[in-house]
């Protein structure tokens, strides 16, 4: 799903790193990724929980999420959901927040993300109030956490579908 051009580039880059499996440290070689405040989270998204390495096939499967979404498909419902569907993309982003993979973004998890995105630029109180506001808006069933369904309905996320359909690699 990444496409022939992408595959060649990915092969070349992974040859630079190591043969066979990638480790989190290998991603450290990508300078622009080190600059990204949530760079570490993106890296850990490639690794299954508990596993220290990722093989090439799994790596490509995850990258496949980012191929442009086909909005008109003539498939019957029996086909498994393609890797680059809108839902998968949203799920990927959801898991950037939900690090313990329990299906809910807790207040603490939200705070952690805010901390990595802003770190020393805002005070702890500002962080708390931002997190508070976000949870209040998103949490519809009042369980003090944001589930995947609630995440999809959050203002901004629901409207982002046009944008993410067109991520092109």
């Amino acid at each position: 799903a990444v496409g022939p051009k992408g595959i060649f580039r990915v092969i070349e880059r992974s040859e630079q790193w190591s043969v066979g499996e990638l480790e989190p440290e290998d991603f450290g070689a990508i300078r622009e990724l080190s600059m990204n405040p949530i760079g570490d989270r993106i890296i850990s998204a490639f690794f299954s929980p508990g596993k220290e390495t990722v093989d090439f096939a799994s790596f490509v499967r995850i990258l496949a999420h980012f191929h442009p979404t086909e909005t008109s498909r003539s498939r019957d419902g029996v086909q498994p959901e393609p890797a680059n569907s809108r839902t998968r993309k949203l799920k990927f982003a959801f898991q950037l927040y939900d690090q313990d993979r329990d299906g809910k973004i807790s207040r603490e998890e939200l705070l952690q993300v805010l901390r990595t995105m802003l770190e020393m630029q805002v005070t702890e109180e500002q962080l708390q109030s931002i997190a508070e506001r976000a949870i209040q808006e998103a949490d519809l069933d009042q369980d003090d956490a944001i589930s995947f369904d609630e995440f999809r309905k959050v203002r901004g996320v629901d409207l982002i579908r046009d944008q993410i359909d067109n991520w092109e690699y």
Binding site: P4, K5, G6, F8, R9, V10, R13, Q16, F27, G28, A29, I30, R31, E32, L33, S34, M35, N36, P37, I38, G39, I42, L63, F66, F92, A93, L96, Y97, V113, L114, M117, L118, E119, M120, Q121, V122, T123, E125, Q126, S129, I130, R133, A134, A138, I146, F151, V154, R155, G156, V157, L159, I160, D162, Q163, I164, W167, E168, Y169
Partner: protein, 481 residues
């Protein structure tokens, strides 16, 4: 019969060696000494280009026949990035589709999509890391090292490639190695001899001639075909010559056309011997390892050198490391702090003939030189740019950037702000902080803006439907901090 055979063999050998040496002398050494050229190398270059074009078209035909897509590595990258926009702009776009825009920007859970996308883009292709590996080519130059497509497509092509290997390793390589040895030995011996001369003026004059001659021989040892542009801007005494850096050969390329004082660290071995010999006849600047760290010492020695107008211009590569010739990276400001004229030079290698970039993490120096000498040729262009001086109110960094932009523009290279030191070092946290700062500005706003938008706030409130006054007061207290 056996003795007859051995005698005739020895005779053959003797004759062929003599013939070869004569040819060498006539076609290479004499022109090098006199500074003339027969034009043989340019003819060679044109012939090679024709052959390469043929080879590429054969490959394309072969790929079409088999209905395969010929993999042409793109130098533009594989990601359809929109025109580069700032973090603020992209976030606005991301949020712009919201139905009721808030009066002030707030954190949105959707913001993470921006960072997520940027992150994955970096994994696939980032601007910095790709500068440190060799540039990819659109056509094939019969060297397997630069080709992903090499399969057995046609017999003719494989034969041609095989012939190429034979010629390059069997004929060109030994010839070039011989020349290189000749050039280097002459350099060492003659500069030492010249150093003994008592008369200063004679010494200067001869040293110039000797340096030029030996570098010309080295240029022929690499089969380097160089085109110099704008020679009226050549660096003059009492100045500093700066250039972009791709390979150690840059030095030879520039020294082929003018006399420079070189700057560098003292090495051991053969390099060290050459350095010691060269400095006897010409005032090159070599630093001990320990002295390199002392910035003041370095600056002082350089300043003293340029102050003396009888001394040749200094040659410096401000990037500090070899870059792959598609871009120019950050210039270190040390050389720009010295008060003198700067003569920028741009060097651009033609990648069709052989990749000149030295990837020091992949190959050692000897390995690299062997690869160079077994390539077809090294073709490059050198542009001498008009001299620049530091202007009033400009600090060293700004001056360095101005020079860098001029060099990049002339050589057709991308002008990057990144530090070449990233080749070996990790990204500093400062860059990550920069991103965080930008993002927080979008959320929280500058302190000054905060004060002003309070008023606009209240006006907008009347028009908003969902905002309630309690939330507003929360925000106010947040901003106050």
């Amino acid at each position: 019969a056996a003795s007859l055979l051995s005698v005739s063999l020895r005779l053959c050998l003797g004759i062929s060696i003599t013939a070869w040496l004569t040819l060498l002398f006539v076609f290479i050494i004499v022109p090098a000494v006199l500074g003339v050229s027969f034009g043989i190398r340019r003819l060679y270059m044109r012939t090679l280009l024709k052959i390469f074009a043929w080879a590429t078209s054969r490959m394309e035909m072969g790929a079409k026949e088999k209905n395969q897509q010929l993999h042409k590595p793109y130098s533009n990258g594989i990601i359809a990035k929109e025109s580069p926009s700032s973090l603020q702009q992209e976030l606005q776009e991301l949020r712009g589709s919201a139905s009721c825009p808030r009066s002030e920007p707030e954190f949105e859970m959707a913001d993470i999509f921006y960072f997520c996308r940027r992150g994955v883009e970096s994994i696939l292709d980032d601007e910095v890391t790709k500068r440190f590996s060799a540039q990819e080519l659109e056509s094939w130059n019969l060297l397997t090292r630069s080709n992903y497509n090499f399969r057995h497509i046609s017999l003719r092509l494989t034969v041609l490639w095989g012939l190429g290997v034979l010629i390059r390793y069997g004929i060109l390589l030994p010839l070039r190695v011989t020349l290189a040895i000749t050039g280097i030995s002459l350099l060492v011996v003659l500069t030492t001899l010249v150093g003994f001369l008592p008369n200063r003026e004679l010494r200067f004059y001869l040293s110039e001639k000797v340096h030029l001659m030996c570098f010309r021989i080295c240029v022929r040892a690499l089969t380097a075909i160089i085109t110099y542009h704008n020679r009226e801007n050549k660096p003059k005494n009492g100045g500093i010559c700066v250039s972009n850096h791709t390979t150690p050969i840059d030095v030879i390329i520039l020294a082929n056309d003018g006399c420079y004082s070189m700057v560098g660290q003292v090495h051991g071995g053969l390099m060290g011997m050459m350095q010691r010999a060269m400095v006897k006849s010409s005032p090159h600047i070599w630093f001990e390892r320990s002295e390199v760290k002392d910035r003041h010492l370095v600056a002082k020695r350089l300043s003293d050198h340029v102050a003396d107008k009888t001394k040749q211009p200094i040659l410096i590569f401000p990037e500090g490391t070899c870059i792959n010739n598609t871009s120019v990276m950050m210039f270190k400001k040390g050389s720009f702090e010295i008060a003198c004229t700067v003569y920028p030079v741009a060097i651009k290698y033609d990648p069709r003939f052989g990749d000149a970039f030295w990837n020091s993490s992949k190959f050692g120096l000897v390995n690299y030189l062997l690869r160079m000498m077994s390539s077809w040729a090294i073709v490059c262009s050198v542009w001498y740019l008009p001299p620049m001086n530091r202007e009033e109110g400009e600090d060293a960094m700004q001056f360095a950037n101005r020079v860098k932009a001029a060099i990049a523009a002339q050589g057709g290279l991308v002008d990057l702000i990144w530090d070449g030191g990233l080749k070996r070092a990790k990204v500093k946290d400062a860059f990550k902080e920069e991103q965080q700062k930008l993002y927080s500005k979008v959320l929280v706003g500058e302190q000054d803006e905060g004060e002003q938008s309070d008023d606009m706030h209240l006006e907008d409130e009347n028009q908003e439907e969902d905002e309630n006054p309690e939330d507003e007061s929360n925000q106010d207290s947040t901003k106050g901090q």
